[in-house]
Amino acid sequence: MQGLDDLYREVILDHYRTPHGADSIEDPAVRVEGFNPLCGDELVMELSVDATGRIVALHVEPNGCSISVASASMLVQQLSGKTLAEAIALKDTFKAVMRGGSWPEGQDFGDLEALEGVKNFPVRIKCALLAWMTLEQALAQHDPALADQVEADDDIEVKTH
């Protein structure tokens, strides 16, 4: 089935089977929990940022479908060691792509590009976005100046600790 092959690409299933970011981190600076109340998917995210504004540790515990788990795993893969500015830029790009936009020319987004197929399954887009919208809340908790990064969404709810 063309549509299914496009959605469940091998790279997505690999991330689902062995997700990145499974190792817990010590004394995380930030811990938030994201929920998708409609389907019940949950995600715990912890991160630590060093003095230079670089993400030095990132841990996720996704509990949900293959798309939400793979998306969270790819988030960890892409953002570990990145600056907050880079994280925000990638998050914005990914959200735009999921909502119908295209990947910017001349850049390599790695495994993340495999999630493109989700666009053809509108009800599953929220699954792919859960980790990234949880990240927004994590960033705001790390630095209140980043609160404007948080997009209010009826379908995704994030709790802070």
Partner: protein, 422 residues
């Protein structure tokens, strides 16, 4: 299910091929495959007779009810009240006046929570629910508990998804004012022993409200034999229109209740300062009702009774037997709920041990098969089962054994998509 003798005497079996011809939507394809509609616990499809009855009403008799002395208004009123008569007979209600039209089961339950419970439940009183309830039979009571300071207690299930009736006396006592529970679980399919529970509840002076959303579609319902005090259901889960609900209540309980919503239709007299109420059931039906939906509901009852509810129940048990047998043959699947098909309605909640229910839902949809994946508005039950979600395939009168096979084939395909052994 209680099977009444008259219906049992009509031993005609359901002709699924014949039934399918009455449902135009079953002709359509989804993703290039013939539709296999297995989301009947969410809402069923409608036969031509229901669709036609509603459209005929709008074409020929449309008017507002209980007012106006003109011919159309009279016809509309007769059609509306005629539907009430049909519901009363269908549920074996003690009187036609004890049938109230609402928007859905949720509204019916909220009606009882407002108009009955706010008069009778006080601080320190208890309401007994079960862990398998749909949110619509939890949240109204949580709101009441916050407001009144009453206590909610819960009857647990055993490992097969049966209510633990042997623990009933531990959660039921002289403080219990109301026992409110599902006739049939929407997530497990369990058919609950309502008469047994009602007997125990009445012995401590508690009333019994039954959420019949999943009860009515699947077999004969006799509210008097069930021995409950209130029975709520949504006709759209039994071939009827979306947008109309039913609440049956014992006449004496309804008589002494306060109104639910205020407005037109529900009054006897109104002055600028105060009003007096119409008699039941109109006391509880403020505003213009959904007349065409009531007409469609009447037609859906005619259709179901034409098949015979006992025959429908036998068909369900036959499909369920095969469904459970085929699903249990798949070693990678966990199937929830009672083992005996006679103890459940024809739905199966299950999980693949490596594929999330939402992924199953998407893959099955690509094969033209509509199932429900998620928490089924029963999150406490999901937590009790230790899962986030389940896949649920729910069958009805137009689904036959070949559709069980289509479902199982697609479950194999899902394993293939995920590169898993079968």
């Amino acid at each position: 299910m209680t099977i009444d003798t008259e219906a049992t005497a009509r031993a005609v079996e359901l002709d699924v091929t014949e039934v399918r011809r009455d449902f135009p939507i079953l002709q359509r394809e989804v993703h290039g495959k013939p539709l296999v509609y297995l989301d009947n616990s969410a809402t069923t499809q409608r036969p031509d007779s229901v669709i036609d009855a509603m459209s005929d009403f709008y074409r020929t008799s449309n008017a507002n009810v209980h007012r106006g002395v003109h011919q159309l208004s009279e016809e509309a009123t007769d059609a509306y009240e005629g539907a009430r008569d049909k519901v009363a007979a269908f549920l074996n209600a003690d009187s036609t006046q004890s049938v109230i039209f609402t928007r859905n089961t949720t509204e019916s339950i909220n009606l009882v929570a407002h108009a009955w419970a706010r008069r009778h439940v006080r601080e320190g009183d208890e309401i007994l629910l079960t862990v398998m309830e749909h949110h619509s039979n939890l949240v109204p009571w949580q709101l009441l508990a916050q407001e009144r300071g009453c206590k909610l207690r819960f009857l647990d299930i055993d490992e097969f998804g049966h209510l633990q009736l042997d623990h009933l006396d531990e959660v039921l006592n002289e403080h219990t004012r109301l026992v409110s529970l599902a006739h049939v679980s929407n997530a497990l399919g369990t058919v609950n022993a309502i008469p047994t529970i009602a007997c125990a509840a009445h012995s401590v002076g508690a009333k019994v409200l039954v959420d019949g959303a999943q009860g009515v579609p699947h077999g004969p319902v006799d509210v008097q034999a069930l021995d409950c005090d209130f029975y709520a259901y949504s006709p759209h889960k039994a071939l009827g229109p979306l947008g109309i609900g039913v609440l049956w209540g014992r006449r004496d309980a309804l008589e002494e209740m306060d109104p639910f919503l205020g407005g037109g239709e529900m009054i006897r007299d109104v002055t600028l300062e105060r009003s007096t109420w119409a008699t039941v059931p109109h006391k509880f039906e403020a505003g213009t009702p959904s007349v065409a939906d009531a007409v469609g509901l009447g037609a859906s009852i005619d259709y179901l009774e034409g098949l015979g509810m006992a025959a429908i129940r036998r068909h369900e048990v036959r499909v369920n037997e095969y469904l459970l047998q085929r699903l249990r043959d798949l070693p990678w699947l966990t199937v929830y709920g009672p083992a005996d098909p006679h103890d459940r309605c024809s739905l199966a909640s299950f999980n693949d041990n490596q594929i999330h229910a939402h992924d199953l839902g998407t893959i099955l949809d690509q094969h033209g098969i509509a199932i429900r994946a998620g928490h089924h508005c029963a999150k406490p039950l999901m937590r009790r089962l230790g899962v986030m979600a389940t896949a649920r395939a729910s069958f009805y009168i137009y689904n036959d054994l070949d559709e069980v096979d289509r479902l199982v084939d697609a479950l194999f395909e899902a394993r293939k998509v995920f590169g898993l052994a079968t």
